[in-house]
């Protein structure tokens, strides 16, 4: 159909062609930004047998899992609390959603300043109560967890909005039935709210999981992948490999790993929801 031609032309040239090309690149011997000829699976063998690849994958997993637990937890808490307010809940939700509209560059900059070891309010408060703030984002033990914290601050409002919609779609009669049977708010939460939330939490976890897997900018601003590679995820490694351009063959392999993980999560999302990703 003719009216599909423009959008297909756009997506084929700008998205699909480079996708095919990155696969082609991964089979090439590379030096800087030159392709030097077909080498078969050499890049894959080299990359997959390197420690760095698995360490980076592990960091990605920890980062994704940590951010998911925190943002979903805070999201559910915020949704329940604001939804139970008799007045002002909707307005407070709009205010709480503000961090989600900010760019990763802005979020990273604000938190870099909050975490500043010399002049930031967080290290100051820690010193006041007798704790040693140390290097904050400069501490290899701490950097990944602080990054998880910032990621969750930015994205828990998204979870809150989705969970709120799920809570509001639960029929009132179910709560009334629990009340008639003499059940407490705890019973309502456990037997009515919670079972209704599970599928929504699953799909939200997948959406956010894809976001965390492919996120780069926040890491560039907060840590630059450091200290000592403590926050180098798969996606950050692709960014580093692209701009440093010492040898782009392995970078292509990392890109394909992310692509496959993204597709797996996307397909799972469709299975769970019967819908396409937003």
């Amino acid at each position: 159909m003719l009216w599909f031609v423009p959008v297909l032309l756009l997506l084929l040239t700008v998205t699909l062609y480079p996708t095919v090309f990155v696969i082609w690149m991964s089979f090439q011997k590379t030096r800087y930004y030159e392709l030097k000829g077909f080498v078969g699976l050499e890049n894959f063998v080299d990359t997959l047998s390197s420690r760095a690849f698995w360490e980076t994958s592990y960091t990605s997993l920890v980062y994704m899992a940590g951010s998911l637990v925190l943002s979903l937890g805070l999201g559910v808490l915020a949704a329940l609390v604001l939804n139970n307010l008799t007045r002002g809940g909707a307005m407070l939700r709009v205010l709480t959603l503000l961090p989600w509209t900010l760019s990763m560059a802005v979020v990273g900059t604000i938190w870099l300043w909050l975490f500043n070891p010399s002049y930031g309010p967080i290290s100051y408060s820690m010193r006041e109560v007798g704790l040693s703030p140390g290097l904050m984002l400069g501490d290899p033990e701490l950097a990944l967890w602080l990054t998880v914290l910032v990621t969750s601050w930015w994205s828990f409002p998204y979870a809150m909005v989705i969970v709120t919609a799920a809570i509001q779609s639960i029929p009132r009669e179910l709560y009334e039935a629990v009340s008639i049977d003499g059940g407490s708010w705890r019973a309502k939460l456990r037997y009515v709210t919670w079972p209704h939330l599970i599928p929504t939490l699953g799909s939200t976890a997948l959406t956010l999981g894809i976001l965390y897997l492919t996120l780069i900018t926040l890491l560039i601003v907060l840590t630059g992948g450091g200290p000592l590679g403590a926050t180098t995820t798969l996606s950050f490694e692709v960014f580093r490999g692209t701009v440093q351009a010492v040898n782009i063959g392995p970078t292509a392999v990392y890109s394909i790993a992310i692509l496959l993980a993204n597709i797996a999560l996307g397909v799972l999302y469709m299975r769970v929801t019967g819908r396409v990703t937003a």
């Binding site: 756009l10 990273g108 309010p121 780069i216 996606s235």
Partner: protein, 280 residues
Amino acid sequence: MRADTRRARSRATLFILAALVVGSALGPMLWAISTSLKNEVNAVSAIPSLIPSPATLSNYLSVFSHKTFGIELLNSILYAAGAVAIALAVGIPAGYVASRYTFPGKRSIMLIILATSMVPGVALLVPTFYLLDHLGLLNNRFVLLVILASRIAPQTVWFMQNFIDAVPVEIDEAAHMDGASRWQILTRLVLPLIRPGIAAVAVIGAITTWNDYITVAVFAPDTAKRTLQVALVNQVFDAVGISWSFTMAFALIASLPVILMFLLVQKWFIAGLTAGAVKG
């Protein structure tokens, strides 16, 4: 009596929790605003305080009078508006056909659109950089616009399809009987009816594009081609020369259009986030 105290106590707990939720979301932003209103010396005082004294607007004036601010602002606006315009131009006709017609191959076309939506931008960094570099197309504004548009094109098609689905097909049929062409039906009848939907899609696409850092930073790093987001991150890279009060003012100015757009269309924004996300 005891029931009353218990109720009062649970109400108090609820208010405290609500204050904590909203406070934790807004607190960091308030700190940024506070710093932006301090002078450079107070911003790095040994005892940080939330209330700036003396408060000054000098950082904001410095941002507005900074020599590259104008071009960065212009680029941010140009890219956001251009990407949305391209995405709508290709997305509206596709969404209309997707909603109104069935034909052999339609399923495959929709599958291609779906597949491209599952390719993350990060997986395209290295091949796109390679291709643009070899074609001499790095730092090219038009190329950048097309890339940014491709990121929001799939969602634009689906949203349009959904909005047009809600317009009764009888309207099309009646107009067709009266001799209207398909193009006339779309532009004169259907589009005016889905104007709020188009506005929502445009705003969401504009926010996404405005907030992008990585695409612009990698494919158009030139000073004259960069956006406010890229300029902001470059300030952070200069760990020694950075003035935090200036940078906070810069970050807030760079966020203001997004916050305003969000507040303007927050109902649609939230509806867009939750569209079908809840299993019925």
